[in-house]
Amino acid sequence: MLPVPDFDAATAYPEVGVLRAALAAGDWPAVRRLWDSLDWAGRGELAHAAGDVERPGETEHLVTVLRAALQADAADPAAGALLGRHLIAAAWRIRSGARAQYVSGDRFARFHAELRRAEEVLIEATARNPGNVTAWQARVTIARGLQVGLAEARRRYDKAARIDPHHLDTELSYQQMVCPKWDGSWELLHAFSRERMLAAPEGALNAVLVPVAHLEHWLELSEEEDTAYLRSKAVRDEIYEAAHRSVWHPAFRRTIGWVYVTNVFAGIFSLLEDQRAAAGQFAALGPLASRFPWSYIGRDEGETFMWRRSMAINGAAK
């Protein structure tokens, strides 16, 4: 019996569980100890977790704890970054995941107003700690939501990159901005993705930018064109090159972010109908699932994950 996909980040990364427990207890010193013990990738994961808090009651409690921490120390890097990221996530939930033409004007106004509230917190956070990569990464996302243009998003990206030149979260945020659906183009998207892959050390997670870019491109194409695009020799070659630089590289490590990366390769191998390669990624994952890329591939992430996994295992066995 194959395991049911588990989307909870805490299953893969115990740090997330520690954060939740400390926040629930209002134990700020514990949050700070955890924050201080992690690298920027780990802190980014904490920020994701703060963004995922969305249940009524839990949201208010989280905001109260974070605001109190800022009250006690306006320069607290963890409190500013986590609060900013939480407010951004809340803003995006107002907007809903729908494309712009389906979002009403009033929702847009509220979405933008909430993003500006988050920006206030994060401007303060980056002013106090110019090296706060997590806060800058969040500000790249805000630049996208407020549509302030590619140049301003790049400025924010550069501030983060100066501290951590291979911060995958920041690269993924900026990568969205260079998609044609925001302010970029296919040329910009693929060039950026490839450039960041090659800049990172071999075996690093960053090569995932390349398959993500192809998934973005694939999603925009019509059903007649998309499969042909993905299976063209040029695109295939790039995807395999990316796999060889990351998930198939001997230096690849299961550091924070690996679950997302492995899910992306499982998904794109499945779309390429390379079931053997996909099965390898699913086997590495076990139950560990991320929403992306399954949200792009199917209507329900869990069902899509399981369907694609069974296809991979059956295909690989043939």
Partner: protein
């Protein structure tokens, strides 16, 4: 010029500020009167008086008039005898204002038409609304209807001996100089403490602009703070803007009520203003968050000190201070205080900068739109002849204008600030929030009783009658089918291109940070009016931008599907 300390004497009850020194005599007769004292219906009367007086003194070379929102100065330079004659002439002209105003009116209209509006015009309205200091950003509506009697009455109230200060530098004036001004009282500076804005929309004249305007106690520390702001913002924005692509300016402007506006702005001449705005806001946050750097304060203090020395005995500034009731110390004391300004003092101002802050941009994005005004009313609805989804809606209390993709604007009749009236029936109602509703009978299916009903509902003291418009200034409806052209991409792009070319032609401004402006813009006059002209282009552009935004694809993606990585609607089934 090495100036002697100013001494305070009087001539015919008018305080005299005096500094001796070499060179020609310079003098200014300053009155505590300006645009901020006017009302919409009398807007321009002070300026009109200034022109009437100077027209009488046409022969006096090197003379001029000038006004800040609370001050009007008649100034000249020349031999002691010439200066003396000028001052006598000003008083005589004020006592004998002409009974026909037409030539002066025409002069002022021409001046208004030729004048290029500045960022500060729009800022005045956004900060203060449609009264007091805000009128400095509005047209001089009163020019058209003020009578000779109105003008004389205004002069009798404001251009009096008790409301004046004379300053003279250079050689002694001939003895026996008389200032024959009527008696009166010192007029208090209009109270602007409740005018915190934002009112209406920020509409800088030409370029993408980001502004931060704050209110601080007037004084030399605040002047230094403005200089520090300019340095910090210039340094930060210089990192992202190419040479010549932008301009940074900070101004310290005492209002005369013990407070000062401290304004810092960046105008972006070419390219995307986003990174400049980003660095601008980050620089302000850094100033709040960290101790002010000593070397910045020292540099600004040195620069300000040089300006103080160049300005001689600062008699115009002292006249301003005296007339507004906040005298400033003698130059030597002022310089000593300046040199004692510490980074901590400046930091205290920076830390409190958000208390009465206005952050404005000419585009929506980092900074949100200004708050919505009064709630729309339901009632009789009059459809636009131009756009089937546009209309005016009116009940007994207010009128609302709706236009697709725009926020509705509502002006309550009882609290309307201004009702502009044209003889052809056109009306413009300006609300207390500085937003307006145009009622053009030619553009709406209005009933005949609508305009009289509005006139009756708006209190009479807000009415501003205007002369008949030229035939081509009365709007005519465009057939509905032409809307696409009027607001569509091609037309707006062309207008944008024309504006850009015009802007480029006048773009030789220096971008080095200049000296902080000093209180009295004596020779830099700020009579305004071309403000509304700039508005149209901006509104067309905003419409196009809004349209593009609404239609652009918007999915957000990222690590998790949960926000901020939320995916688009599920596109492809397994």
């Amino acid at each position: 010029m090495r100036a002697m300390p100013a001494r305070l004497m009087e001539i015919d009850g008018v305080p005299l500020l005096r500094a001796t020194g070499p060179g020609p005599a310079r003098a200014g007769l300053a009155f505590r009167a300006g645009r901020a004292d006017e009302t919409p219906a009398t807007a321009g009367v002070t300026h009109l008086i200034e022109h009437l007086v100077l027209r009488r003194l046409r022969a006096a070379p090197g003379s001029c008039g000038g006004g800040a929102p609370v001050l009007t100065t008649f100034a000249t330079q020349g031999t002691a005898t010439e200066v003396s004659a000028f001052l006598t002439g000003v008083c005589a002209a004020l006592a004998d204002l002409p009974s026909t105003l037409d030539d002066a009116r025409a002069e002022l209209r021409a001046e208004a038409a030729a004048r290029t509006p500045t960022v500060f015009d729009s800022l005045a309205v956004v900060r203060h609304g449609v009264h007091h200091h805000g009128l400095a950003g509005m047209p001089e509506w009163g020019l058209h209807t003020l009578t000779a009697d109105d003008v004389r009455a205004w002069a009798a109230e404001y251009f009096t001996g008790q409301n004046a200060v004379l300053w003279v530098t250079g050689p002694e004036l001939p003895s026996g100089l008389r200032l024959a001004l009527p008696p009166g009282v010192r007029k208090p500076v209009p109270d602007a403490t409740t005018e915190t804005g934002p009112f209406g929309e920020f509409r800088p004249p030409a370029h993408d602009t980001i502004v931060r305007d704050e209110v601080q106690p007037a004084g030399i520390v605040t002047a230094v703070y403005a200089g520090v702001l300019e340095r910090a913002v210039f340094h930060a924005t210089g990192r992202v803007a190419g040479d010549g692509a932008h301009r940074v300016e900070a101004r310290y402007r005492p209002r005369g009520d013990g407070l000062a506006a401290v304004t810092v702005l960046a105008e972006v001449f070419a390219g995307n203003p986003g990174p400049v705005a980003g660095e601008f806001l980050d620089a302000l946050a850094e100033l709040r968050a960290h101790p002010i750097r000593e070397e910045h304060v020292a540099a600004v203090v040195a620069e300000t000190d040089r300006t103080l020395l160049r300005s001689g005995a600062r008699l115009p500034e002292q006249a301003f201070a005296l007339l507004t009731g906040h005298p400033e110390p003698p130059l030597a004391e002022l310089r000593a205080r300046l040199r004692a300004v510490t980074a901590d003092e400046v930091g205290t101002l920076a830390a409190s900068s958000q208390a009465a802050e206005l952050l404005l941009t000419s585009w929506n994005g980092l900074i949100g739109p200004s708050p919505a005004g009064a709630a729309p009313v339901a009632g009789r609805r009059f459809r636009s002849l131009e756009n089937r989804r546009a209309a005016l809606t009116m009940d007994k209390t207010a009128i609302t204008r709706t236009w697709p993709r725009s926020r509705p604007v509502t002006v309550p009749f009882a609290s309307a600030a201004v009702l502009l009236k044209w003889p052809d029936g056109g009306r413009r109602l300006i609300g207390p929030d500085a937003r307006h509703v145009d009622v053009e009978p030619t553009l709406h299916e209005t009933a005949p009783d609508v305009v009289p009903a509005i006139d009756a509902a708006v209190p009479a003291d807000r009415h501003v009658p205007l002369p008949a418009r030229e035939a081509d200034a009365i709007p005519i409806p465009r057939p509905r089918g032409e809307q696409a052209v009027r607001y569509g991409g091609a037309g707006a792009l062309l207008m944008g291109l024309i504006a850009w070319v015009l802007a480029w032609g006048s773009m030789t401004l220096a971008i080095t940070p200049g000296a902080t402006s000093w209180p009295v813009t004596l020779f830099g006059m700020s009579w305004l009016s071309g403000f509304w002209g700039a508005v149209r282009l901006r509104s067309v552009r905003n419409t196009v931008v809004a349209h593009r935004r609404m239609t652009r694809a918007h999915s957000a993606s990222g690590r998790r599907s949960a926000p901020p990585g939320s995916p688009p609607l599920p596109a492809k089934a397994p």
